[in-house]
Symmetry: C2
DNA sequence: CACCCTACCAAGCATTTGCTTGGTAGGGTG
DNA sequence: CACCCTACCAAGCAAATGCTTGGTAGGGTG
């Protein structure tokens, strides 16, 4: 049972079978939730028997693990670039928000899985990194908010904790209705979201 | 097996055992999700054996059904009052939002269950009413928004669909972090949310 | 041709899950 | 005391679920 080979043992012809299966699993996890997706569901969707999945992966957990870890690494790389860039705090915040809508567009399954199952998964040692990264995430967003208040770009009469949660939720919850390839592009959605967030919806 | 008696067969001494069990189930459903809460979990939390639950309820589904249906009836009664009241569209919208934060405070479990499991449950005939009420909900909120735009109270340069989802999500997602009896009261949270929503977070 | 490797099948096992069945303790009522 | 009702227990069943084991078809390589 060597099984569960390393991610993409080869490097030639199109998406490997392993990558295909992972994408299928991701879609199902995103739709039904991790715990409510059975290995038989995944196998059925792939046209194979459930046992055959274990030729490619150690366990069902390994699949989400790989999906979430890979996705988050990419996202944080973008965040780090933005944080290190030369902009005002508010401009950084805007960039981070746009980058997040982009993630919803480009990595829809992973974002949905994270939104729905991270709390549950974080309860296992294996997924301890979810907690660490969540703290890192919160520190970054909250920090940008505080700097933007300090720099005078944002109102100072609001509860920062509440504003933080407001923004975070508003952005990420969009994964529940946004569909890649739909009427509005991720950029258009981000534009309007930022307009509402910054200027409000009331007239004048 | 008459079993699964009508809600609260008696009418005297404090919360009936049945009501207690329902509250326990609600808390667990809210925490872990409906499908991830087993009847044994509920029974354990209540200090009885799982089979004993079936003296009070027909099925696990009956429990969520009763929880959600009862809650929604109350909520829509409030919405109807507001809609029928004598206020401007924007004032109605504000009232509806405040009423929703109140629901998060007073019926935390039910709101959480609805947020997490409504999509899944709506797939069953028994829960068809969830779809109907969702349409009614959407019609009401969206209608108020349109009227408020028409009356000149709200900006007219935004995508109404997007604004609708923005508000809806922003309000209800709060159930994930708001805790009744916490630092901020539901009213205080509603105040700040409305301030952000209407005026935005940017300065000036 | 012999060998090996990838991707799969066929069968099944242990555990968990929702629910059923038949029974019982204990309090109230005639 | 006889009777009944509520709230439970004890035991277990059928289905679903994650995963294991041993095997095989088929293509590539020496």
């Amino acid at each position: 049972m060597s099984a569960a080979s390393t991610p993409d043992p080869v490097g030639g012809s199109g998406p490997s079978r392993r990558a295909e299966l992972l994408a299928i699993a991701g879609r199902l996890f995103a739709e039904r939730g991790f715990r409510n997706t059975t290995v038989r569901d995944i196998a059925d969707a792939a046209g194979i028997l459930s046992g055959s999945l274990y030729h490619h992966f150690d366990s069902k957990e390994s699949m989400v693990d790989e999906l979430l870890d890979t996705f988050q690494q990419g996202l944080f790389a973008e965040y780090d670039d933005i944080e290190a860039s030369d902009r005002t705090p508010l401009a950084k915040l805007e960039a981070v928000i746009r980058s997040s809508f982009d993630a919803i567009d480009q990595h829809h399954s992973e974002v949905a899985i994270f939104q729905n199952d991270a709390t549950y998964l974080a309860g296992f040692e294996r997924f301890g990194y979810l907690i660490e990264r969540n703290e890192r995430f919160e520190k970054l967003w909250r920090g940008l908010l505080q700097e933007a208040v300090a720099s005078g770009e944002l109102r100072d009469d609001l509860d920062i904790d509440l504003v933080y949660r407001f923004i975070r939720d508003t952005v990420w919850v969009a994964v529940n209705w946004y569909r890649p390839g739909g009427a509005l592009s991720a950029t258009e959605v981000a534009d309007q979201y930022l307009s509402i967030l910054l200027k409000g919806i009331s007239r004048g």
